[in-house]
């Protein structure tokens, strides 16, 4: 059974400031959005593989053409 420690020599902790709570909520939301995007495939695969055609052999894939004129 736990007991709350009472320290009469120390004033009570005033609590976490509001700006820290706002930062925490924004941080959690952003992390969740990134995790959802990465693991649900909404944003496609992550890393260089997302730009490589799936049927191409690894390491020998020609780069995607830019569609711009070469000099």
């Amino acid at each position: 059974m736990s007991q709350t420690q009472v320290r009469p020599d120390r004033p009570p902790y005033p609590g976490t400031p509001r700006w820290v709570k706002v930062f925490g909520i924004i941080g959690i939301v952003l992390v969740l959005v990134v995790v959802i995007i990465m693991f649900t495939g909404v944003g496609g695969k992550h890393g260089p593989d997302r730009h490589i055609p799936s049927g191409a052999p690894s390491g020998h894939t020609p780069p995607i053409e830019n569609g711009v004129q070469q000099p």
Partner: protein, 175 residues
């Protein structure tokens, strides 16, 4: 653990220089990504990928690591501490997060830079990812810079306990 005033100023100066340098290097990196993304010249896109890789590995990564390490030394060597004040703790966590993402992302940049160096064609699709990563990094760095200047109030429970232990030990010597 407390540093002498001279050493403290030196470490703080090194921390400011590395952090502001990191921010500036990310802006330069973003400029390269935007220039490549809006360019119709394949040579420009290839050159941008190669420049972004060099800037990333030889400027941004060293500055990020320096900023993180010097920031930790600076915090631990002053009465601010690393875990006592929320603004220092939030800055530390954001810097660690940005550094990890940077180190995880740089191999992707190296891949595209390698492709650009070996072939005549250029990849503009990866550049959108660069805008997201570098833009997010810039946002994080702007937040940490703002926290450093404003130093919003608020102590952690650990900081609160330590503060009152120190005050009890030496009432006239509070940070």
């Amino acid at each position: 653990m407390s540093m002498t005033p001279g050493l403290r100023k030196f470490v703080l100066t090194a921390h400011v220089i590395s952090s502001v340098g990191w921010l500036g290097a990310v802006v330069a990196y973003l400029a390269l990504a935007v220039a490549a993304l809006t360019s119709a010249d394949a040579q420009m896109v290839r050159a941008a990928w190669i420049a972004m890789e060099l800037t990333g590995w030889f400027v941004i990564v060293p500055l990020a690591l320096a900023s993180l390490l010097i920031g930790v030394v600076n915090a631990l060597g002053t009465p601010w501490g690393l875990f006592r004040h929320y603004w220092v703790l939030v800055k530390f966590l954001l810097t660690v997060f940005a550094t990890i993402i940077l180190l995880l992302h740089m191999p992707t940049v190296s891949y595209f830079a390698g492709v650009a160096a070996r072939t005549d064609s250029a990849n503009v699709f990866g550049l959108r990812g660069e805008l997201i990563h570098a833009g997010g990094g810039l946002l994080v760095l702007l937040v940490t810079a703002t926290l450093s200047v404003y130093k919003p109030r608020g102590m952690t429970p650990y900081g609160w306990r330590k503060e009152h232990e120190q005050r009890k030990a030496s009432p006239s010597n509070s940070p």
